[in-house]
């Protein structure tokens, strides 16, 4: 930035003169460079420092909770009555389970849909389509979460109560159809290649396999869809509602990151596979997806983090009941998440009135921070390991 070496094109008398600086001027230059570097370093460090400070302050207010209250109760009990005057109980197990359930639900919605969409965009659809579709998907990320929450509470929840079974069936179809379609296509392709490669009947075998597999998949899906349609939903603000909405919120992240990962594989690998005589499906499943697996993993983890940290939607539409659904996978029961608890209980919990109630929220924030920290670490590890493997 402050170097004085002129480029070849600029070699003029003036610049040659400027190479020779007086001692004082060169010292000034060096000082200026030093100051500039120091400034840049401060700016860079301050963002890292801010994160450290957040960690420090959350930990500072969380540690008293672990000293004052029963830690075992916090992690193992489901008795969440923090506001009782006498003998409040801070059992957060059901809240951890709630967060986990909602996140799991969001992953089940976002990952199959997101990765199939990414595969379609990068390898199946024509390039021109991708140029239009990808920006549209990324706009989805710009919708504020409160709008999603409002939709979940005011539109989706009543809809679910009135036509619960049918919506479940439709949701099932939407979720299952793309992976089933891709799966049928890929499987029949592979089977046809294995049993009738090069034979004159290869195309026919492929059609036969795909129709048999497709029919089987359709039958299974219709049976599940029919079972779904019979379910009655008593309360529309439940874990499933937020799972679906969170899944759609995480979708742009998952699609965008995994599509980038698939694109990063490059033409050479694909063309190499084709040159060896692989079909498009074989190229996809045997070459492209394994090569992009670390990026896809990162996409999934980023989606998980998006879902677990979301607050507004779950506070508005998850029902906030501090219970573990019975049975645990029953997503049609209301649940309470860590983020919603922190947001909802903040108001009354000042450290003057009830110290336990105040510090328990920080304990939750610390747990949340630790979870996303670990997620981040795992994703970095996965990416790094895959990169090393590819390199070696």
């Amino acid at each position: 930035m402050t170097t004085t070496s002129p480029t070849i094109g600029q070699r003029s008398v003036a610049s040659r003169q400027s190479l020779k600086l007086s001692k004082r001027a060169s010292r000034m230059r060096r000082l200026a460079a030093l100051a500039g570097h120091a400034l840049l370093l401060t700016i860079t460090a301050s963002s890292a420092l801010a994160v450290m400070f957040i960690f420090f302050f959350i930990a500072r207010d969380a540690i008293p909770f672990f000293r004052l209250e029963d830690v075992r109760e916090f992690f193992t009990s489901t008795e969440w009555y923090p506001s009782r005057d006498t003998d409040p109980s801070f059992g957060a197990l059901s809240i951890f389970v709630g967060s986990g359930l909602v996140t799991l639900g969001a992953v089940v919605v976002a990952v199959p849909l997101g990765i199939s969409a990414a595969v379609c965009l990068s390898d199946i659809m024509p390039f021109g389509v991708r140029q239009y579709v990808k920006p549209v998907i990324e706009v989805l990320a710009a919708i504020p979460s409160v709008a999603f929450g409002f939709f979940a509470l005011v539109v989706f929840a009543p809809l679910m109560q009135e036509h619960g079974g049918r919506i479940l069936a439709i949701a099932w179809w939407c979720m299952a159809l793309p992976p089933a379609g891709v799966g049928t296509f890929v499987l029949s392709d592979i089977l046809a290649a294995r049993f009738a490669r090069g034979a004159p009947g290869e195309a026919g075998a492929r059609v036969g396999f795909s129709s048999v597999l497709g029919a089987a998949a359709l039958a299974v899906m219709s049976w599940i869809g029919w079972r779904c349609a019979g379910i009655e939903v008593t309360s529309g603000t439940n874990a499933l509602n937020v799972s679906i909405v969170l899944g759609f919120m995480a979708l742009p992240t998952v699609i965008s990151v995994s599509e980038d990962a698939l694109q990063a594989i490059g033409r050479e690998l694909r063309e190499g596979a084709y040159a060896l005589g692989a079909t498009r499906a074989e190229t996809l499943t045997r070459v492209v997806i394994p090569a992009a697996s670390s990026g896809l993993c990162a996409a999934v983890i980023l989606g998980v983090m998006r879902a677990i940290g979301e607050t507004m939607v779950v506070w508005m539409a998850s029902g906030n009941a501090a219970q573990i659904p019975k049975p645990w996978y029953n997503l049609l029961e209301p649940v309470r998440t860590l983020t919603a608890t922190i947001a909802g209980d903040m108001g009354e919990a000042d450290h003057v009135t009830g110290s336990g109630r105040y510090h328990v929220l920080f304990a939750m924030a610390l747990s949340l921070l630790t979870i996303s920290f670990v997620c981040n670490l795992i994703s970095e590890r996965v990416v790094a390991r895959a990169a090393a493997k590819r390199g070696g």
């Binding site: 489901t78 969440w80 009555y81 923090p82 506001s83 009782r84 059901s94 509470l153 005011v154 929840a157 009543p158 109560q161 008593t234 309360s235 529309g236 603000t237 506070w315 508005m316 029902g319 906030n320 009941a321 501090a322 219970q323 029961e333 209301p334 309470r336 909802g344 209980d345 903040m346 108001g347 009354e348 919990a349 000042d350 003057v352 009135t353």
Partner: protein, 290 residues
């Protein structure tokens, strides 16, 4: 460009400092400091707004830190008015008297909580005991209280709210609300959930009852302004402002804490969903048959 923005920034900061010091210099105003309950807070805030508009020389500051903190502030003489959604406890009274503070209670308004259900629900009346059993999870189906065969969806305000505190104190009688109860963040959200959920039960302030939800009669008494202000409706409580001694007659403090006796004060109370203690409806001509 850079220098210009730097100068602009400096000028902005300077202006802020000047402004802040100017507002500090205005300290000649008479000050009324109000602290306490988050339930009574909206009344105090509305009163403060009205009072400062009427008497610009008075400065009323209202903080909402909870009833307990309000009492603490009054005892320590750091506020003039303590908003409380409950009466002072014996301990607080004793502490106050020890510090030469004599708490005097002013009941500024009544707070009633209608129990709301979906308009299609045929149930018309519940007892307080039945409401409690529903929220503790002993009654789980509407057919146990004369309704359709539907699982009851229980909806409550979040535990932060004064509304929740009232409900817990007057209905739950120290029993725990069952874990499958849903919590929402506002009275409006309660109404939204109840009007869209046929099997729901919820509670909200009196001001939130409209045609989209049905208020049940409790122990045979409908929640109306009259039944709440007279205390016949069972889920109702008085809201207090406490002062140190009765304020000097004619002082601004006196004017502020007796605003609830004026028609304007009663209108304010009504407009934010509480019930005036005085027989305001007869005076204003708005009658409501029972």
């Amino acid at each position: 460009m850079k220098a210009k923005s730097l100068i602009a920034g400096a000028a902005f900061i300077a202006a802020m400092i000047v402004g802040a010091s100017a507002s500090l210099a205005q300290d000649k105003q008479e000050k009324i400091v109000v602290d306490g309950s988050t339930t009574v807070g909206p009344i105090a805030k509305a009163f403060a707004e009205y009072y400062m508009h009427k008497y610009p020389e008075v400065n009323v500051t209202v903080s909402e830190s909870g009833s307990g903190n309000g009492a603490k502030s009054l005892i320590n003489n750091v506020c003039h008015v303590a908003d409380m959604s409950r009466f002072m406890k014996d301990k607080e009274f004793k502490a106050a008297v020890d510090k030469n503070v004599t708490p005097v209670a002013h009941v500024v308004a009544m707070d009633g909580l209608p129990i709301l259900v979906h308009p299609s629900n045929p149930v018309k009346n519940l007892t307080v005991g039945q409401v409690r059993d529903i929220y503790t999870g002993k009654i789980t189906n509407w057919n146990e209280v004369g309704g359709p065969n539907k699982k009851i969806v229980k909806i409550s305000r979040d535990t932060n709210s004064g509304t929740y505190e009232t409900f817990e104190k007057l209905v739950m009688n120290k029993e725990k609300i069952s874990a499958d109860t849903e919590y929402v963040g506002s009275n409006g959200a309660i109404r939204q959930r109840v009007q869209s959920t046929p099997a729901a039960i919820g509670y909200a302030g009196l001001g939130f009852v409209d045609r989209t939800v049905k208020a049940l009669s409790i122990n045979g008494i409908m929640p109306t302004r009259q039944t709440v202000s007279s205390g016949r409706y069972p889920i109702a409580r008085p809201l207090f402002m406490f002062t140190n001694g009765y304020p000097k007659l004619g002082s601004h403090l006196h004017g502020f804490v007796t605003l609830y006796l004026q028609p304007e004060g009663q209108e304010i109370i009504e407009s934010i969903g509480f019930v005036p203690v005085t027989n305001y409806s007869a005076a204003s001509g708005a009658t409501r048959p029972e």
